[in-house]
């Protein structure tokens, strides 16, 4: 059967699974940004922690995603519900690019700007709000962009542990040996990643006013 026919006939299901996928990704990204950006800011204040925090993040990223799901399974409370587990794992994966880019973005602010801000009498909260975050935003956003695309991809694996989402089509299609079903999961997931990447890229270029 023609693939587009297939999608048309099963559009309710495609929409349902796409909504589930979007939900998993959105919650995880909100958490990752909510935790990652402050963590990156803390790292700029306490550079001694860099080794531990970035090191831990690195280790987490090195663990293959399916293995990470498996490792979290036996944990109490977390392992009981697949969506809790999935959102935890996705958030952990998204953290590294965001923490690292927040740190790099803020560290990369030119010294004279920082010195002027200090000499003007801005306190650390004001420096964060008026200088550090706005100037680091393009770099942070680049990290968010990378993290989002990764999260959309890893979320397809989440179906393997019962979290739903577009991965369910992919695994079903593999079991049924039916390409249409596989593509019904793979193509919307890929499209989602492309669209998210495009939107964030647009946001990045809007913020990237010429500065020099």
């Amino acid at each position: 059967m023609n693939f587009f026919h297939f999608i048309a006939r099963h559009r309710a299901e495609v929409l349902t699974l796409t909504a589930e996928h979007l939900w998993l990704v959105s919650i995880s990204m909100l958490l990752a940004v909510g935790i990652g950006v402050p963590l990156g800011i803390v790292l700029t204040r306490k550079p001694g922690w860099k080794a531990i925090i970035l090191g831990t993040n690195n280790v987490i990223q090195t663990i293959p995603s399916l293995a990470l799901f498996g490792l979290l399974l036996p944990l109490p409370w977390l392992g009981v519900r697949a969506d809790r587990l999935t959102i935890t794992a996705l958030t952990l994966y998204a953290l590294l690019p965001i923490v690292r880019n927040t740190f790099t973005g803020i560290s990369g602010i030119e010294a004279p700007v920082r010195e002027a801000a200090l000499g003007m009498g801005l306190d650390s909260r004001q420096i964060l709000w008026h200088v550090e975050l706005p100037l680091a935003m393009p770099v942070i956003l680049a990290g968010v962009r990378v993290a989002t695309v990764i999260t959309i991809g890893v979320a397809t694996i989440a179906a393997a542990i019962g979290a739903g989402g577009l991965g369910e089509f992919i695994f079903r299609g593999l079991a049924m040996v039916d390409n249409n079903v596989i593509l019904a999961g793979a193509i919307p997931a890929a499209l989602m990643a492309l669209i998210a990447d495009g939107i964030l890229g647009l946001l990045q270029s809007l913020l990237q006013r010429p500065r020099h």
Binding site: E110, P112, V113, R114, E115, A116, A117, L118, G119, M120, G121, L122, D123, Q126, H130, V131, P134, L135, R209, P210, R211, H212
Partner: protein, 257 residues
């Protein structure tokens, strides 16, 4: 009867040492009076920038006390201190993501000034530094020339009308024409405003032109404090060396005529 000039800033046996032990400033004692332009003159590494930064507590003394308006810098709340002391540096450090208006109006805004008062002050202070508000309010730092940036930096330092102004080689990076332009305008500005200015420079000519008193610094010590006239006529060998260097660079003018 002449009134005793009021002391704005005082250094009382101040030393500054780095963590690894190197001493950038040794036993500095001096008094800076209200309304004067006090020049800190010396080569790189002489301690002049360190001295400046001790005034607005960007650095804290290892020993001795720095007093601003009769209060030790360590007793001041650093934020309040820095709001009373304008700071203009060579690279200017304008916030690239803010317009000229926002850069200049930032401290008044943070001080809680109502919108109209801030806007009025921004226009006023831009005029003071020779920039027409209609043209420059909405521009961004990357759209300004070096000289214009320096003017905006000065306007920003003056925005909240601080009684003291610290300037660290503000005109050093400009081309000679812009430099003279700004020096002249600054002189006129100071005559109108009467602020206490502490000015760091390595340019003898600038020190002689602008300063009411010149402190000569070398290797973390202050060698002398003199008026420009005393400086030019001084017999002290170190001072003479500076004057000779200055004359040498200007001899070409005399010979050429």
């Amino acid at each position: 009867m002449t009134a005793q000039p009021e002391i704005a800033i005082e250094f009382d046996h101040v030393s500054y040492r780095l963590a690894e032990g190197r001493e950038l400033l040794s036993d500095l004692s001096l008094a800076i009076y209200r309304g004067e332009i006090f020049m800190l003159l010396g080569r790189s590494g002489s301690g002049k920038t360190t001295t400046l930064k001790l005034i607005n507590r960007l650095l804290e003394p290892s020993s001795g006390e720095v007093r601003v308006e009769a209060k030790s810098t360590m007793a001041w709340d650093p934020i309040r201190l820095r709001r009373r002391v304008g700071y203009a540096i060579q690279e200017v450090g304008l916030f690239p993501h803010y317009s000229v208006a926002k850069n200049v109006g930032l401290i008044p805004m943070l001080e809680g000034w109502p919108r109209e008062r801030t806007d009025g002050r921004v226009g006023e202070v831009l005029n003071l530094v020779g920039l027409s508000p209609e043209t420059f309010l909405k521009r961004y730092p990357h759209q300004l020339s070096g000289g214009q940036r320096q003017r905006v930096g000065l306007a920003r330092a003056l925005a909240a009308d601080p009684p003291i102004l610290l300037m660290d080689e503000p005109f050093g990076a400009l081309d000679p024409l812009s430099r003279v332009e700004l020096q002249t305008e600054f002189q006129q500005l100071q005559q109108r405003l009467g602020k206490t200015v502490v000015f760091v420079t390595h340019d003898v000519g600038e020190a002689l032109l602008l300063g009411s008193r010149i402190a000569l610094m070398e290797n973390g010590r202050m060698l002398s404090v003199q008026t420009p006239k005393e400086f030019l006529n001084s017999q002290d060998p170190k001072t003479k060396a500076y004057v000779d260097a200055f004359s040498a660079s200007h001899r070409v003018l005399e010979d050429g005529r």
